[in-house]
């Protein structure tokens, strides 16, 4: 709503006005030029719906802060100490359907849930949240040792100066597995690729794994905070992630038949990496 008064009279901008305000906003956003995300041949975008959810939750929080600020002013300083609104409180009613504590169990629901947040304040404290496009174009199905796996790569070099990763997660959507694997428990594991080899499997390091029932569907969230931090510090060591699925007796399963959604799935269920950042310095609006 942006507090727009009904008394406003609207009119279109003139060219020079448009250029002037574009320059002003880019300076506020700290961007050298306007991005052009959709030129021909570019990858599809990454997780805008999830990010839109975050944006709306953040906007709600800002409104709360403003109202609280006004209320505090009228109640006097005394009220200040004990009126903090917690980010996950149900009063963010618009999102209670998704804001659920899901760290304890894999998040299986029908829409991307909001961040897991190692502590409850990661979104509150974040200055920036980025979701990254998966750069892997062609899916390879078999490794040299006939192990099913799926590769993911994310470019974390575009992070602005001074931003540090406070939390990062890899999210992939799982639908009901193929009927051939009905009523069994699957183990989904995510690995960081340490070294790639020519004629044998890459060297990998296990980051996280989850056990789920084949009939369950919803978002799986894997914690990749340490790996993302490592990649930001050492971009040349960013060799991507590998995802594998096994049955309880260790048999490798194809990602597709396990029900995990990849590039061929709908836009709203594409896998993505999301990272939360905190700026070390204070960002001030540039003086012009």
């Amino acid at each position: 709503d942006n507090h727009v008064h009904s008394s406003f009279i609207y009119r279109r901008l003139r060219n020079h006005e448009r250029r002037e305000i574009q320059r002003e906003i880019l300076s506020i956003l700290g961007l050298p030029h306007r991005p052009r995300p959709f030129s021909p041949g570019k990858q599809a975008s990454s997780a805008p719906l999830f990010m839109l959810d975050l944006y709306n939750a953040m906007a709600l929080e800002e409104d709360d802060e403003e109202e609280e600020g006004a209320r505090r002013k009228s109640l006097g300083a005394k009220a200040q100490a004990n009126s903090r609104t917690s980010y996950y409180s149900p009063q963010h009613a618009g999102y209670s359907r998704v804001a659920q504590p899901y760290r304890a169990a894999p998040l299986l629901g029908h829409s991307p849930a909001l961040p897991s947040a190692h502590d409850a304040n990661v979104l509150n404290d974040a200055d920036m949240v980025m979701s990254f496009v998966n750069l892997v174009e062609k899916d390879k199905d078999f490794s040299h040792q006939r192990r099913h796996y799926k590769e993911f790569r994310f470019d974390l070099t575009q992070i602005p100066e001074g931003e540090a990763v406070t939390a990062a997660e890899f999210r992939i959507y799982k639908e009901r597995s193929h009927s051939r694997y009905d009523n069994i428990t699957l183990k989904v594991s995510i690995y960081q690729v340490i070294k790639e080899n020519q004629n044998k499997d890459a060297e990998t390091f296990l980051l996280d794994s989850k056990k789920i029932h084949s009939s369950n569907s919803g978002w799986l969230v894997f914690d990749t905070t340490a790996t993302s931090n490592h990649w930001v510090m050492n971009p040349q060591q960013n060799l991507g992630l590998q995802l594998c699925v096994e049955t309880a007796d260790g048999r490798s399963l194809s990602i597709k038949s396990a029900g995990l959604v990849g590039r061929s799935g709908p836009q709203s269920k594409q896998p993505f990496l999301v990272a939360f950042f905190k700026a070390s310095g204070v960002l001030l609006r540039s003086v012009r």
Binding site: E17, V129, V287
Partner: protein, 148 residues
């Protein structure tokens, strides 16, 4: 002197003020509050706060800015007579007025306006690589200058 004109600033100021008060505001939608009555014969008006709604669609930026659709910026007009626009945002507003007051203490009042209420604004946008960025800019939107 702003605008590089060599004429007498105070005359310039009055012209400027007339210009400002009546010409469409640079940088956005015309924002006239019906309650504003500009009496040109009296040049000194109390500082009034105006709102300026900036629409990203209007700027042709809806392909890379996902949300918000626009934002309400504020600027003041009147006694301090330095509208907030691309060249004069609130941060350097008081600085410029201090300088002009030093030169013309009788005509230009001391600055009483420094940004007082600064709000956060969150912007959701695509970068060049189609990654999606949600950035919170604290203390970015000036809600009012010191006069209010």
């Amino acid at each position: 002197a702003a605008g590089g004109k060599k004429k007498n600033p105070s005359r310039n100021k009055s012209t400027n003020q007339q210009e400002t008060s009546r010409a469409p505001k640079p940088g956005g939608t015309v924002a006239y509050s019906p309650s504003t009555d500009y009496n040109t014969s009296e040049q000194k008006q109390a500082c009034k706060k105006h709102e300026l709604y900036v629409s990203f669609r209007d700027l042709g930026w809806q392909d890379w800015i996902i949300a918000p659709e626009g934002y309400a910026a504020f600027y003041c007009d009147g006694e301090c007579a330095f509208p907030l626009n691309a060249h004069m945002n609130a941060t350097n507003h008081a600085i410029v007025q201090t300088l002009v007051h030093l030169m013309f203490p009788d005509n230009v009042p001391k600055p009483c306006c420094a940004p007082t209420k600064l709000n956060a604004i969150s912007v959701l946008y695509f970068d060049d690589s189609s990654n999606v960025i949600l950035k919170k800019y604290r203390n970015m939107v000036v809600r009012s200058c010191g006069c209010h």
